[in-house]
Amino acid sequence: MPSPPPKRVKKELKPLSSRPQFAISSFAPKLPSSSMPPPPVPSTSSKGKGKAKQVEVLDLTEDEVEEQDPEALWVDRFAPSTRDELGVHPKKVNDVAGWLDEAYNPRLSKYRRLLVMSGPSGAAKTATLKILADELDIDILEYRNGSNFTFASDDSRDSMVEQFTSFLARAGMAPALELGPDPSLPPPPSSSSSSSSAPLPPSTRSKRLILLEDLPNTSHYPTKLALRSALQQYLASPRVTCPLVVIVSEALARPGVGLDAESTSGEGRRGESVDARSVCGIDVLQAPGCREISFNPIAVTIMKKALTKILDRVYASKSSGGLLPTSARPAVGTLEIIIAHSNGDIRSALMSLQFLASNPELAAATGATLLGAGKETGKGKKRKSDGEVKGAASKAQVKKLLQYVTARESSLFIFHALGKVLYSKRWGESADDDKKDLDRQGIQQEQEIDRLPKHLRKEWTRKPSKVNPDVLFAEAPIDSDVFLSYMHHNYTAFTNDIDECLGIVEGMSTADGLMRLEGEDWLQRVSLTSQYSFNTAVRSTLLHLPSPVPRRKQVLRKSALWEKMRETRANEEGIEEMYRKKDGIALVPPFEFEAGEEDGGGWRGGGGSQRSRRSLTTELVPYVGVIRQKGTKGALSFFTELATFPPVPSSHYQATITGETLGEKDVDEDEDLAVVKEEPEDEEMAEAEAEVLKLEEEEEAVGELLWDPEDDIEDD
């Protein structure tokens, strides 16, 4: 009886329950696998005590279940196999299907070369494509970066991008031959990546499409350019025989270490968010042969339906092939929380669900607690723990569990983080708020705060703050450098008095002073200094903001800092360029070319020497601007422009914070790329604020989420 589990199973034996959910999700293959009726399985799955236990579990299963590995991730096991099972809005699916259809229409194919499917991860992009390809009888040729790269042969080593480019050229332009193992395919994925389905087995289907999901490293600028030009070539080439589908999983990357302009000199040190535009470039996207279909996060209702279906299968009664006993089924409430925290990522939701289900006690417990005391007794008997059915302990347990399951989702968008700081809520400002905030997650509780020593009390006592900068730092979506610049851009609207402004900006100045990074080991110090400076700035802001912060329908806007820095750099470069030009005479000291000098070329006569940059920008350029009046062309008009300033606004002018409105999901500071969501101004802040809080509010989490279920269809 104790037949050792087959090898395959062993490999898959990732102790599910012992791993945090997010670690697994990154490995999760997004592959459709046949959905067979789930095999019966013993009632209790292990509690993650390690392999031994799990093997035991396996031993009990019958041998023929091998195919349907019970330990497999639910994501794989319950992947949709038909259009109807997809959690995507039918209109989207039709869009893709239509495109694919047209792509093989000889008359239209010219304009259906490149399909960019973009959307957040877990929005079922890949699944949609695979299902449709199956339906339409199309072969998928997938490109993967070789991961088991050998560095042995140095000379034959192409860069990844080159490999990719040649792959595109060969795979796309070759006539639809019978594909043996394609020699142009990069080395197959290493065995460590969970399951291999990349190159489908050679088949006789005549239609093919190239799928590019494993994008080259686009944060490396040259690679990105190479990728873009490869795509452009592909679009332009007359010999292309099959369409290319690029799947871009949008990621809101943390902008990297935001250093000052000098030390980065604009070379993509700041991380970019990954989206269709940043990956493919606007030129590619606007090409006639390209179409972008963007997927929205999966709507709550749809996800709920899908998950319920899966749960139905898992917890079906044993006779009908259910995996786990019905009694341990997570309650609806649990499901809703999971959905709420998944941010529309169905994969993540499913992973959380499986994780939760691996510990039936907790699964039931969460459901029970959340469904209220009334139902608790019914579910409560599942719990072995000495009759302690309800009360604080179980609630704490649930909370703790939820923290694990949903930890990934609690990160704040910059908009929310800013709101938290700038509204600087304190205890005792409004009785209603206090009641709501009592014992709420993410809110610093009153009793946690220490009293000030006596000598400081008179000047510095404030009502206890509800904001905990440490938590904020941990959850802030971007690094403190960027955060500070946003805060700097917006703070004035929240103050009443110049002294408050002073306190805040002084804090930021101190923080920036602390951020100094130089010397060999600056990289090692980045993390610490940024923490210090974040705390300095945020705490002093909280301290100096009036209490309560006046509400004047403030709108948060994007920081102008980067824009200004870019302009400054552009102007500096302009000056530099003029300096090098021969006709930039006015700037370059008297290296005037004198005809008749022996060898014309670079020789210039005169007793000149270089000018320092400072004297250029502060003395020469401004005066040249006056001396050579406007209307001159070329180099000089640049100088005159640089030398003149806009008129100073009159004294009646009321300055307002300008700049693009900060959309609630914006993370990126790169204005060209970020899409700003315009929202009604007055509601925006209140809404966002409410949302921040809601995220932590389990009771209300259901239903009012970051997105609107209707949002799934774009009105296009």
């Binding site: 006056v626 009046q629 004294s651």
Partner: protein, 369 residues
């Protein structure tokens, strides 16, 4: 057409209009084996002019044949940096601080290059070549110590002339290896003399009080004086707009309009207006407005420390005696911050907010008296 300031720039030591004794000394040095030197003094005092004159004294008219080149240097991390280099057969001039953090490799490479090749021109008056390093005080410590080593090693083939605004940021070992030559700012009378000379050459009739005014606002910077002379001339060829009773000339208390009426570069006027804004009203809205102006200045490539100093100078002209000390104190304080940090706008804004706060307190105090 070149600018006045370049057109009439002295080319030999004899033509130099002021600091006769320094010229004399340089002439004497040029006869002997010329040492490494460090020229320092405020900007616009004539350091580079003097250096070029000295070169001429050393090598003769050959140094006038210049070429501008762009040299590419490879940093240890294989990054390419480009530096503009001006050179003749006898000397090479460069500004390593343009390379930012990589100034050290630039210094080393250039010096090594030069030092390893002997003077090939047999007619050359001297056996060595000269390397002029501009903005020596902006060199990083690394670069400075690299420089110090090479200075020792290759004295046979090269001389280094450093040019700096102040010696305070130059490390001791370099200072001790160089002959320090201070080029002080010219006095008002000296500037007037030079202005008159240039005006005469250009056949302009420059009234004396205008020259004095220009000299006064240039604050010892001859380059600025000459540039503003030319700027004023283009705007007002007869110099009629400048009245002899200008408050700067008579020494009475200065009014805002008078401060604006003198020919200054636009950015200075703009900074001055920012200062007026600060004094006009002290509210968060006003601070926001001032921030816009500060941004504008930064975008126009005006160095942030200069913005602070310009604004505070203007403030000094306008505020009461009691808080002048505060203004200077905070200006210095935030300039230090500027050096520490990387986001100038934070510190500039903090400075403005501080002044607003101080000024407001002061006004309130007066009210209560």
């Amino acid at each position: 057409m070149s600018l006045l300031v370049d057109k009439w720039r002295p080319k030999t030591l004899d033509e130099l209009a002021y600091h006769e004794d320094l010229s004399e000394r340089l002439r004497a040095l040029a006869q002997t084996d010329f040492p490494h030197t460090l020229f320092y003094g405020p900007s616009g005092a004539g350091k580079k002019t003097r250096i070029m004159c000295t070169l001429k004294e050393l090598f003769g008219p050959g140094v006038d044949k210049l070429r501008i080149e762009q040299r590419t240097f490879l940093t240890p991390s294989k990054r390419k940096i480009e530096i503009n280099v001006v050179q003749s057969n006898y000397h090479i001039e460069l500004t390593p601080s343009d390379a930012g953090n990589w100034d050290r490799s630039v210094v080393q490479e250039v010096l090594k290059d030069i030092a390893q090749t002997q003077q090939v021109d047999l007619n050359a008056k001297k056996r060595f070549k000269v390397v002029i390093i501009n903005e020596a005080d902006l060199l990083s410590r690394d670069a400075q110590s690299a420089l110090r080593r090479t200075m020792e090693k290759f004295t046979a083939n090269l001389r280094v002339i450093l040019c700096a605004n102040s010696t305070s940021r130059i490390i001791g070992p370099i200072r001790s290896r160089c002959l320090l030559l201070r080029v002080g700012a010219p006095s008002e009378a000296e500037i007037c003399k030079v202005l008159a000379y240039a005006a005469k050459k250009e056949r302009l009739s420059l009234p004396e009080h205008v020259a004095t005014l220009l000299a006064r606002i240039s604050q010892g910077n001859l380059r600025r004086a000459l540039l503003s002379l030319e700027a004023l001339h283009t705007q007002d060829p007869t110099f009629k707009t400048v009245s002899a009773s200008h408050s700067l000339l008579t020494g009475t208390k200065q009014s805002a309009s008078d401060l604006d009426s003198v020919p200054r570069p636009d950015w200075e006027k703009y900074a001055g207006r920012a200062a007026e804004k600060i004094l006009g009203e002290q509210t968060p809205e006003r601070l926001l407005e001032v921030r816009g102006m500060l941004y504008e200045l930064l975008v126009h490539c005006i160095p942030a420390p200069l913005i602070i100093s310009t604004i505070s100078k203007r403030l000094m002209d306008r505020v009461d005696e009691e808080i002048k000390a505060d203004v200077v104190y905070w200006a210095a304080f935030y300039e230090h911050r500027l050096r520490l940090g990387s986001k100038p706008i934070f510190h500039l804004e903090a400075f403005c907010a501080r002044i607003m706060s101080v000024y407001k307190q002061h006004l309130l105090g007066i009210g209560f008296d």
